[in-house]
């Protein structure tokens, strides 16, 4: 306590569960497990997921299965039957539904997600616990994790049921005397991020608006990149301003063309709407097991899925019909 014995009033506190922030724990992990050397990090999706995604892990990803998301890595997580994951669903799509149908997740920090009967049924069966945040608050908690601080002040969520069911606090700001919220940092155990280009060391480029790829990579203990394209490291060094993520944040580089399929990587290929409809119908009809069998379990890899389930002809159409490349690749 200060000589003057000053204190800051805690006006209110949420009662939700959350991963307790531990900036020094994050630092020790980085010191002991993250490689500062330029080493070749290319590996298969099988190796990356088995090495860096543990049961019970807190998993974050960027963006989502609709747009520039790590769909192939998510399917590998399902294929390896990972369990009890805690998912950060900051503007996710039906990613959360897939992982729930695969039995992989038991908790979700939700900003927004596409919801159907799979998630509703899992919640009612007690298999899935939801923690309500918002897209922005989750992106911001990742920023706090990326800054290496235990919390950040936030000027929203206060007064809502989101606050009440969260790990947020409402305090009296010692500078203005006004009420301000604090939200706890999150340092995911692993981040799955799909990028446009990277080199073998993990120096990565992302084109187009992001959600929070930089904060997510910085905040996470392990970072698995799937990439549409692996480029020469010389190219990275010729244009340092084009780099989104530096190599030392990254643990694995998985070469995954069409890695967001059935979603889009703007400028490269459009989304496969027929596939999205097939998924929607499967959920409505309660046939997610069949859907997963067809698209995940019956194929050994992303490449095999593309070859045997999508087919080169469809892939060519998806590329050909993504005619708008301005700002991304031109």
């Amino acid at each position: 306590m200060a000589p003057n014995g000053k204190t800051i009033a805690v006006l209110d506190e949420g009662v939700g569960a959350y991963r307790a922030p531990d900036p020094d724990g994050m630092r020790r992990f980085v010191r002991d497990h993250k490689d500062r050397r330029l080493v070749d990090k290319r590996m298969t999706e099988q190796d990356a997921v088995s090495r860096f995604v543990d049961d019970g892990a807190y998993v974050s990803y960027d963006t989502n299965v609709w747009r520039r998301g790590p769909s192939s890595l998510m399917r590998e997580v399902i294929r390896q039957r990972k369990r009890d994951l805690w998912l950060a669903a900051k503007f996710s799509a039906h990613d959360a539904t897939l992982l729930t149908a695969g039995g992989c997740i038991s908790k979700i920090d939700v900003g927004w997600m596409e919801v159907g009967r799979v998630i509703t049924e899992a919640m009612n069966a007690g298999r899935l616990k939801m923690y309500e945040w918002t897209n922005g608050a989750l992106a911001y908690r990742h920023l706090a994790g990326a800054l290496g601080v235990p919390f950040l002040p936030l000027r929203y969520v206060g007064g809502t049921d989101v606050f009440r069911n969260s790990g947020a606090k409402l305090i009296e700001d010692p500078y203005t005397g006004q009420a301000v919220c604090l939200v706890p940092a999150v340092n995911p155990d692993v981040a799955l991020i799909h990028v446009n280009q990277c080199d073998m060391y993990g120096n990565a480029r992302i084109f187009g608006p992001g959600l929070a790829p930089v904060e997510t990579a910085m905040a996470s203990k392990r970072v698995i990149l799937s990439t549409e394209e692996i480029i020469d490291s010389e190219e990275i060094r010729k244009h340092p301003g084009a780099t989104t993520l530096p190599y030392y944040l990254v643990d694995a580089v998985v070469h995954a063309p069409f890695g967001c399929y059935p979603g889009t990587v703007p400028g490269l290929y459009r989304a496969d709407l027929q596939h999205l409809m097939e998924f929607g119908v499967a959920q409505v009809q309660g046939k997610m097991d069949e859907y997963l069998e067809k698209w995940v379990f019956s194929v050994a890899s992303h490449t095999e899925m593309l070859e045997k389930r999508v087919g080169l002809e469809k892939l060519n159409v998806l590329r050909a019909e993504e005619t708008h490349t301005e700002g991304y690749y031109t």
């Binding site: 939700v110 927004w112 998630i119 918002t134 206060g158 700002g327």
Partner: protein, 287 residues
């Protein structure tokens, strides 16, 4: 009697919302959905110089019309922006006061403009119906100067008590309630738009106030569709139905894939100069 006009409840809300747009202002929307369509419609018909910022970090894009299918997954939706940033950055711009209006869709709303995007039921962990979650609505409704909500006028949607308050309106309606909860000063809900009525909020009590009603409906019908009793303006204005021009633009250019063809069909008949509603039919809803 001749059928004058046919549209869906969703189309009506989009049209009415588009008419609220103020030229030269900056709008904040989530990725896709009726709020964005309302802004795109307004840019085409009335206020070409409004700009909008999208939750994903896209700043002031110029989406081509007809708009691309599957907007949330279309690179074209971000095209011709002045900047591509990220979610935190645009939230900070809102926090700094740059974003005048937020436009949002709500599942449930109460008399102080608080709303629910999370679930229906009495047990959060075992929802009767689960929705997508707050998404960007909470930050948008907290940080923009004014918030415009879009929803349908139904008793289960205009409720005395929300099943879950995902996002803030005026909270308990007391003076300074938002500031006491940590939100920026002088912000809050501005309008609530439905297919047949538009509401504002009373400056003194911060309670919802009925401002306008569609000619084919009535104040009584509107109040009958609400669980709570809103204030009623001294001069409730008539809400002109969507025009042929508005519907044509919406259907041909703003939503060519027909995602707004949901809710119920409303057909208006010309009954000797006054518009009267024909029997309602459920709409063919697309995925």
């Amino acid at each position: 009697m001749t059928a004058a006009l046919t549209f869906t409840t969703n189309e009506a809300a989009i049209v009415y919302t588009s008419r609220l747009m103020e030229e030269d202002r900056l709008y904040f929307v989530a990725i896709g959905g009726p709020p964005l369509l309302a802004i795109l419609l307004a840019k085409q018909l009335r206020t070409p110089k409004i700009a909008y910022v999208v939750e994903d970090g896209t700043i002031a894009p110029e989406m081509p019309v007809p708009t691309p299918p599957f907007m949330v997954g279309a690179g074209l939706a971000s095209s011709r922006a002045v900047a591509w940033t990220d979610m935190n950055t645009v939230d900070f711009h809102a926090g700094l006061g740059y974003l005048d209006y937020g436009v949002l869709a709500a599942v449930q709303v109460d008399e102080y403009g608080n709303f629910n995007s999370t679930f229906l039921g009495d047990d959060f962990d075992r929802p009767a119906r689960r929705f997508g979650g707050p998404g960007g609505a909470t930050e948008i409704a907290s940080l923009c100067w004014r918030t415009i909500l879009m929803t349908r006028l139904e008793r289960r949607k205009f409720v005395k008590k929300l099943d879950f308050m995902s996002s803030p309106g005026f909270l308990d309606g007391s003076l300074g309630a938002r500031e006491r909860a940590g939100m920026p000063a002088e912000t809050g809900p501005y309008r609530v738009v439905t297919e047949r009525a538009v509401f504002g909020f009373d400056d003194e009590t911060r309670r919802m106030k009925l401002l306008a009603v569609a000619p084919w409906s009535s104040i009584d019908e509107v109040l009958g569709e609400m669980e709570f009793a809103p204030l009623v303006a001294a001069d409730v204005a008539p809400l002109d139905p969507p025009t042929e021009e508005e519907l044509a633009m919406l259907r041909a250019n703003i939503d060519p894939t027909g995602r707004t063809i949901s809710g119920d069909w409303i057909t208006l008949e010309d009954a000797g100069g006054t518009l009267r509603r024909a029997a309602a039919e459920p709409a063919t809803t697309n995925a």
